[in-house]
């Protein structure tokens, strides 16, 4: 039996779980609907979190900096107080807990793995106060809730979400011939588009460079996107909902990838919807994302044969994500005994926790916070731990997200972290009593793993031997 399949597309088999008889249906049945988030307390909405973000930037920039401009010490003290009041050091830890608790306790671990994949596909980089306030909610509300519809909807929601608009600077775009553009020029100021978002939309989110778009395509798409912004106000800074501001939009028709986009009806905002629709069904988009899915779940070097069934599911279902995911899961199962895939630090750590019944992450009662003093060491552990193992979910440094390639995850220091992390998890208690059973349930070559821990008594030592070993790192 291909037992590594349960780690390839999930988090392995936990102490209280049985090995499913029909792995492919087991996996495919998990991707039809969005499972609930699991957290024993109220989960704050993205809107609420944007308010915290707004309070943080406004108070700091407009009040504290002016009030304490002569006294650096007083400024620092006041800023720390503000930090605690708005949860600047708290919420990122809380979000990591909500994310990892949901993933670990979910009835649909396969869905959760796909969730982590899509969060990374539409990556939000570490910029401004986004990791502290808004990227977690973006993953929960924008990515997760749109994973069981069409790719087009997911693309549209991600592209026009506050997080992406802010992350890729689209609010900075001013069409040169727009009303604002002309006004600015009259005052001797420049008005141009910011190409960042348009370029990543093509390169990373949809067609990839394989579509051979040109600099002209990028500029034209930037014109189409100009006007999609979060308003910048004195009281809330960048923390305003996304809107379409036609006064910044470049009028006229624009040609992207050989097709001309024109205004239909009264508002030119449809031009972007039309482009997104075409990008979502572009053959290179299907290919690129099918390739990326295989690369994430199956092997660093996917072949044509692996990609083909996923591309075809994409074509036949008009980009229906559950259908695409099911095709992927079948392919992964078919090749499970032939291909091994190096697991990134977060997925690997969650697999370890799941397989030993680890007491991670911190629970809602441990994360109670009074917004008055610095969160305690314990409450800051989630971020600390993720940083140590080299995977901070809300802080990729580039818009292409974290790598899926083995060589990017191997270095002396990163390998040391894989050997240190099991002890941390063991110290927080585990429920697993019978390691032999866990090994039988999770590994085809059980004897090899059992040999590794023979004569070992301490569960912590057992974990330190099993989890950094070859079969766990490469699944």
């Amino acid at each position: 039996m291909k037992k590594n399949f349960f780690r390839k597309v999930g988090f392995g088999i936990g102490p209280d779980e049985l090995v499913p008889d029909d792995p492919v249906s087991w996996a495919q049945n998990q991707v039809n609907k969005v499972p609930p988030l699991i957290w024993d307390n109220r989960i704050r909405s993205g809107e609420e979190m944007l308010n915290h973000y707004a309070e943080w930037v406004y108070t700091d920039r407009e009040i504290l900096r002016k009030k304490h401009k002569e006294n650096r010490h007083a400024y620092r003290e006041a800023k720390n107080k503000l930090r605690y009041k708005v949860g600047q050091k708290y919420f990122e830890n809380l979000e990591i807990c909500i994310r990892q608790n949901t993933v670990l306790k979910s009835k649909s671990p396969v869905f959760e793995r796909l969730w982590l994949f899509w969060c990374n596909h539409f990556a939000i980089i570490d910029k401004d106060a986004m990791p502290q306030f808004t990227t977690g909610p973006y993953h929960r509300e924008t990515i997760r809730t749109n994973m069981c519809g069409s790719f087009e909807t997911l693309l549209k929601e991600a592209t026009l979400g506050w997080s992406m608009i802010h992350n890729l600077d689209n609010s900075e775009s001013i069409g040169p011939q727009s009303e604002w553009g002309k006004n600015r020029r009259k005052r001797g100021k420049l008005a141009t588009v910011n190409e960042n978002h348009a370029r990543e939309l093509l390169e990373l989110h949809t067609v990839s460079p394989a579509a051979k778009y040109t600099q002209q395509d990028v500029v034209q798409l930037s014109y189409i996107m100009a006007g999609w912004e979060h308003r910048h106000t004195k009281k809330r800074k960048e923390c305003n909902p996304v809107r379409f501001n036609y006064k910044k939009h470049e009028p006229g028709n624009h040609k992207v990838l050989g097709k001309t986009y024109k205004q239909r009806g009264l508002s030119p905002k449809n031009k972007l919807f039309d482009v997104l629709k075409d990008l979502a069904i572009h053959p290179e988009t299907r290919r690129f994302i099918s390739y990326k899915l295989c690369r994430h779940f199956l092997t660093d070097n996917p072949t044509e044969d692996m990609i083909a069934p996923i591309v075809s599911a994409w074509e036949q279902s008009d980009g229906n994500l559950p259908t695409i995911h099911k095709a992927l899961l079948k392919v992964v199962y078919d090749y499970a005994d032939k291909e091994v895939k190096f697991q990134n630090p977060e997925v690997w750590m969650l697999q370890m926790v799941h397989m030993v019944g680890g007491n991670w992450p911190l629970q809602a009662d441990e994360m109670k916070y009074n917004f008055k003093i610095k969160p305690n060491n314990h409450q800051r552990k989630p971020r600390f731990f993720m940083k140590e193992i080299g995977y901070e979910p809300y802080r990729p440094i580039q818009p292409n997200g974290y790598s899926d390639i083995e060589s990017d995850w191997i270095s002396p220091e990163l390998l040391i972290r894989r050997m240190s992390a099991p002890k941390e998890i063991a110290q927080r208690r585990i429920t697993l009593k019978n390691f032999g059973q866990m090994i039988d349930k999770n590994f085809d070559n059980a004897e090899e793993i059992k040999y590794l821990i023979k004569d070992i008594k301490s569960p912590s030592t057992k974990m330190q031997l099993i989890f950094p070993s070859y079969r766990m790192l490469k699944t």
């Binding site: 900075e172 420049l190 141009t192 060589s407 220091e413 040391i416 972290r417 002890k423 031997l465």
Partner: protein, 378 residues
């Protein structure tokens, strides 16, 4: 050659037994060091080293750098780069301007891949130019980063260092774990490298601030049996918005870079005389500012160089000018010098290895120019 043990314990000196990289020749030569600082995001050379050309103000009314530090009659320096400027005044710093890797497509990911691999096609190479160069010269190096940067990757499987606060894996555990990794695999050679470290080094704690790491690295480089190459990464040069002139986002980033220059110089001590520090970035930025007081992805940029191995204080350039017809695609500072010529020349100087040999092994014998005589004193 390199002895990581000396690096952190300070007292134990052990030769890496049977290290394939050990080169008797290398040991006889005077130890020279190369430090490469990657400026990720696309560093704006027109802001770091602005030309004295009134046309620039037309393109950049809101982000023009003022109160610059004097360099030559044609160029000046961003006021954030004070340490660099001090070195310049002593003839220990130089600039190559209007240069870049031969990549014009303006994508960070492709550009950063190519600036590290030194190749032509994005994502086609799995090793880096510095790694291949060190392999050619038979040297080892050290990356101050948690993952291993592409630039250092090569068959020679190099080392990295980054402080941790987690508990230490015991040597017995490591030995056991290592047996599960296939012979000749990347995992196996990596864990073997870890096992060669002394126990004390595995739990190395310390500050992770870039300038602190710079002082750690400089101290390691200054030891006669320490590593000879170090690589740093600084993020955040992608200044699409609020780039600013003398103050602002770009000024802050340059200030961080300058702090690293300062820490390196201070902690290298007399070794500074045998050291060459060079910067690396994926591209420059457009000449014209955008609506958000920032700049878009461009092409040509400046390379900052510092250290005792610099020939003289100079801005070396085949300056194309900022007239519209001289710009690349009518919008960027053109690149008239292949940056790889500089890196190949730098390696030839520091590694005491023939330029042509390095070019053959590292850059596929591309038409690169040997700039050793022009830029570096030997």
């Amino acid at each position: 050659m390199i002895n990581r043990r000396t690096f952190l314990t300070g007292s134990i000196t052990v030769t890496l037994l049977g290290s394939p990289l050990f080169s008797a020749l290398a040991e006889k030569r005077k130890k020279k060091n190369l430090v490469v600082i990657s400026l990720r995001g696309g560093m704006d050379g027109l802001s770091a080293v602005p030309p004295t050309d009134p046309i620039l103000e037309k393109f950049r009314p809101d982000i023009l750098v003022r109160k610059t530090l004097p360099l030559t009659s044609d160029f000046s320096l961003h006021p954030s780069l004070k340490n660099f400027h001090n070195a310049w005044k002593q003839g220990k710093a130089a600039i190559v301007h209007s240069s870049n890797i031969p990549y014009t497509m303006r994508s960070h990911f492709e550009g950063q891949d190519l600036m590290e691999s030194g190749g032509h096609k994005p994502f086609a190479e799995h090793t880096g130019w510095l790694g291949r160069g060190m392999e050619t010269a038979g040297l080892e190096g050290l990356a101050i980063a948690l993952p291993m940067p592409l630039i250092l990757r090569s068959k020679a499987n190099l080392d990295n260092y980054f402080p941790t606060k987690l508990s230490t894996p015991s040597p017995d555990i490591m030995k056991q774990v290592a047996t599960t990794y296939p012979k000749d695999s990347h995992l196996r050679s990596t864990i073997e490298r870890v096992m060669m470290r002394p126990f004390s080094m595995l739990s190395g704690t310390g500050s992770r601030k870039a300038f602190r790491l710079a002082s750690t690295a400089a101290k390691a480089l200054s030891k006669s049996d320490g590593p000879r190459v170090a690589v740093f990464d600084i993020n955040g040069f992608d200044t699409h918005a609020a780039q600013g002139g003398s103050n602002g986002e770009h000024a802050d980033k340059l200030y961080n870079l300058d702090k690293i220059f300062g820490q390196l110089r201070e902690n290298l001590g007399s070794t500074f005389e045998n050291t060459l520090i060079v910067t690396l970035t994926e591209f420059g930025r457009k000449v014209e500012q955008n609506g958000g007081n920032g700049t878009e992805h461009g092409y040509g940029t400046a390379i900052l160089m510092m250290g005792g191995l610099i020939k003289k204080a100079q801005v070396y350039a085949d300056w194309p000018g900022l007239k519209l017809r001289n710009m690349f695609e009518g919008q960027d500072l053109n690149a008239t010098i292949d940056a790889r010529s500089i890196y190949c020349s730098a390696m030839a100087t520091v590694f005491d290895t023939d330029f042509q040999k390095l070019n053959r092994h590292v850059f596929w014998n591309d038409p690169l120019e040997n700039l050793q005589d022009k830029l570096f004193g030997i």
